[in-house]
């Protein structure tokens, strides 16, 4: 494996990790506030569809982005309604949201575009353009650093950088601000927040809205950045990989970045190589694909550092007498 190949694989890792990271941070806000979310997949999917469709019709990727965020927010609101206002089962609500997205995207896509659920191919201003960072071209010829900066760090679309910035911003928001303190408190002991005179409902809805926003970004990146248009079931389990990464990261932002990069790398490898021959053993591509799930099960089992979810996670808050 030469240097150029490594750079290529890492470059593709960054691209593939971006939607995972956005969805993973999305899940982080929701789950840290005590709302389990297995509907990340569905929110991403509906956002990908809405952004792909809106970008195709309007010719503007920004309108697409707004549509994606809007659609994802609507789905987040349904989840909020079910799990916060009506104190329903958060897991079942998540399952329903995934199916709703899966069905609606094909139904509406077929009606509007007649392409079997796809949206028309996007080009030009309807897609996120790669951004060349300052001095990238000038530095491109430097040995080692040049290609790393020019190919790996520069030349991605805006949402890749947004995702990267979202990590420190999330960490700051969570650990350094009033909102973050209240959000974490609500996920651990909502009664403490309630008796302090703060609305548990308000904070949880705010968290769920951030989840919707970030899932919207993730979906828009899938349809208008990574690909040129929406394809049916295009999330293909990415929402669940993001969920796995969230557990792997034990609900912490910086660790989420590392987990998503790892899972992105695995995906990049499985796309590039069918089977990996290590000489003494042949690793089938299916193993590489299943590795994120296997790793998550191992982490959940607590054999290597136990993952303890927020204490109030999954429980609707009911005021006690």
């Amino acid at each position: 494996m030469d240097f150029a190949t490594i750079i290529q694989i890492l470059d593709s890792t960054v691209r593939l990790a971006t939607p995972l990271l956005l969805a993973c941070l999305a899940g982080l806000f929701s789950e840290r506030s005590g709302i389990f979310d297995i509907g990340l997949e569905g929110k991403m999917l509906i956002a990908a569809f809405a952004s792909g469709a809106a970008a195709a019709v309007s010719g503007s990727v920004w309108i697409g982005l707004l549509a994606g965020i809007g659609a994802s927010l609507v789905f987040a609101a349904i989840h909020g309604l079910a799990s916060i206002t009506f104190r329903g089962n958060q897991l079942i609500s998540g399952v329903a949201i995934n199916f709703l997205a899966s069905g609606l995207t094909v139904l509406l896509g077929q009606k509007w575009f007649g392409l079997g659920g796809r949206t028309p191919s996007l080009e030009g201003a309807a897609r996120f353009e790669p951004i060349t960072l300052p001095f990238a071209r000038a530095l491109a010829d430097l040995p080692a650093i040049g290609p790393v900066y020019y190919e790996l760090i520069s030349g991605h679309s805006i949402l890749v950088y947004v995702a990267a910035v979202a990590v420190p911003v999330s960490a700051w928001l969570l650990y350094r601000t009033r909102f973050g303190l209240r959000l974490r408190a609500v996920g651990e002991n909502p009664a403490a927040v309630d008796t302090a005179g703060i609305s548990v409902t308000g904070i949880r809805y705010a968290a769920v809205a951030i989840t919707g926003l970030l899932c919207g970004l993730a979906g828009a990146y899938l349809a208008c950045g990574l690909s040129a248009g929406f394809g049916r079931e295009m999330t293909a389990g990415k929402g669940f990989i993001a969920l796995a990464a969230l557990i792997f990261a034990k609900w912490r932002p910086w660790h989420a970045l590392l987990a998503c990069l790892l899972f992105g790398l695995l995906e990049a490898i499985s796309i590039r190589y069918q089977n990996i021959d290590l000489g003494f053993v042949l690793i089938p591509v299916q193993f590489t694909q299943a590795l994120p799930y296997l790793l998550t099960v191992v982490i959940l089992a607590g054999f290597v550092g136990k993952a303890i979810p927020p204490r109030a996670g999954g429980d609707p808050y009911v005021k006690e007498r």
Binding site: G88, S93, F99, L243
Partner: protein, 359 residues
């Protein structure tokens, strides 16, 4: 809670949820420029208007009875088994191994073997998540989701690299010998003089499914194990006081649940395709969630809910054939049913309760 009698909670809440789901679906149909009344008519005539339609409806229903029971049994133990998909995938592997391993002289023997093996494989795939939940406290919802993906990868590997016949390009096993083919409803009902359309996939597995319903009912409401499962599902703390062992009950409930999900493969793999394909489960594991929620985790409720979803699936296929409505409409309806019976049930129940108080 008070106010609303038990029967109203068991019947009216799912019914009202269903009506809401249908009304919203009707609006979606309107939105895509089709006529909901006509759509319903096409579905009803296509799925229920002939024994041919019924043959498909019941075939789908058979799958959903198995997966619905699987989810229901886990629900009784307070566990959410979202891994029916993976367990049924593994069940398919069991059926394929059973049918291909020996030259069976008669379908009945093959059925016996495939029933046994599919149940064992399905149960085995549920065993590890169950054990992790019981022993290590790993959330079973997450582990069973992960196991769905792992099952898909395992099957993919086996079909592509191991079980594919030489020279075939399809990721699928060889066709099963004709002796393993199960009798269909045409043959079974014909034997007792009831005419039933030829060439539908509904087969003897339907009887197996009804049998499973009976067994689940007896187990849950008439045996000590069922008593312990229900008690554990209501309150783990109290169960421990009564000498009920959480690990044992979690394991038993999930093994039964996994076995039921695995059994579904007898219907699809041996009863219909006669070979194991990639993704032969086609989401039936997830529909089990909707079926169990609608059927209030009761076997009789599960039967009715499964037939309803069988009707939706067959009717949806007819719609796709005769109108411009894609069959994904069914997924939307399914999603709405899950949403209203499982997550927003309080929204449906609250006005009903108020109504009762006003009387």
């Amino acid at each position: 809670m008070g106010g609303m009698p038990k029967w109203a909670d068991a019947l009216l809440v799912p019914l009202l949820s269903l009506i809401i789901a249908f009304v919203i679906s009707g609006l979606v149909i309107l939105l895509i420029g089709e006529d909901p009344v006509e759509a319903l008519w096409i579905m009803v005539t296509g799925a229920l208007g002939s024994t041919y339609g019924w043959g498909y409806t019941l075939y789908y229903a058979t799958n959903f009875i198995f997966t619905g029971l699987a989810v229901a049994v886990a629900f009784h133990a307070g566990l959410f088994n979202i891994g029916g998909e993976g367990q049924a995938t593994m069940g398919g592997l069991g059926v394929a191994l059973a049918c291909l391993a020996l030259p069976w002289p008669h379908w009945s023997l093959a059925l016996l073997a495939s029933t046994l093996l599919s149940a064992v494989f399905g149960a085995a795939w549920a065993a590890l998540p169950a054990w992790l939940q019981a022993k290590r406290g790993s959330h079973i919802v997450i582990t069973t989701i992960m196991f769905n993906f792992i099952a898909a990868a395992v099957l993919n590997y086996l079909l592509v690299n191991v079980m594919r016949p030489r020279g075939s390009m399809d990721p699928a096993t060889a066709r099963f010998p004709a002796e393993t083919n199960l009798p269909d409803l045409h043959a079974i009902l014909g034997a007792v003089g009831i005419p039933f359309a030829k060439g539908t996939p509904a087969n003897i597995s339907l009887i197996l499914a009804l049998l499973a319903c009976g067994l689940v009912w007896v187990t849950i409401w008439r045996t000590r194990l069922g008593y312990e499962i229900r008690a554990f599902g209501k309150s783990e703390k109290a169960a421990v006081y009564a000498g009920i062992r959480p690990i044992r009950i979690t394991m038993y409930a999930m093994l039964i649940s996994g076995a039921l999900a695995g059994l579904m493969a007898v219907n699809t793999v041996q009863g219909e395709t006669n070979r194991l394909l990639l993704n032969s489960v086609e989401g039936a594991g997830f529909i089990g969630i909707a079926v169990a929620l609608m059927g209030r985790s009761h076997p009789v409720g599960v039967i009715f809910a499964a037939i309803l979803f069988g009707f939706l699936y067959q009717g949806g296929a007819e719609l796709a054939l005769w109108t411009r409505i894609p069959k994904e409409l069914i997924i939307v309806i399914q999603a709405l049913v899950i949403l209203f019976t499982g997550a927003l049930d309080e929204m449906v129940r609250a006005p009903l309760r108020r109504l009762w108080r006003m009387r």
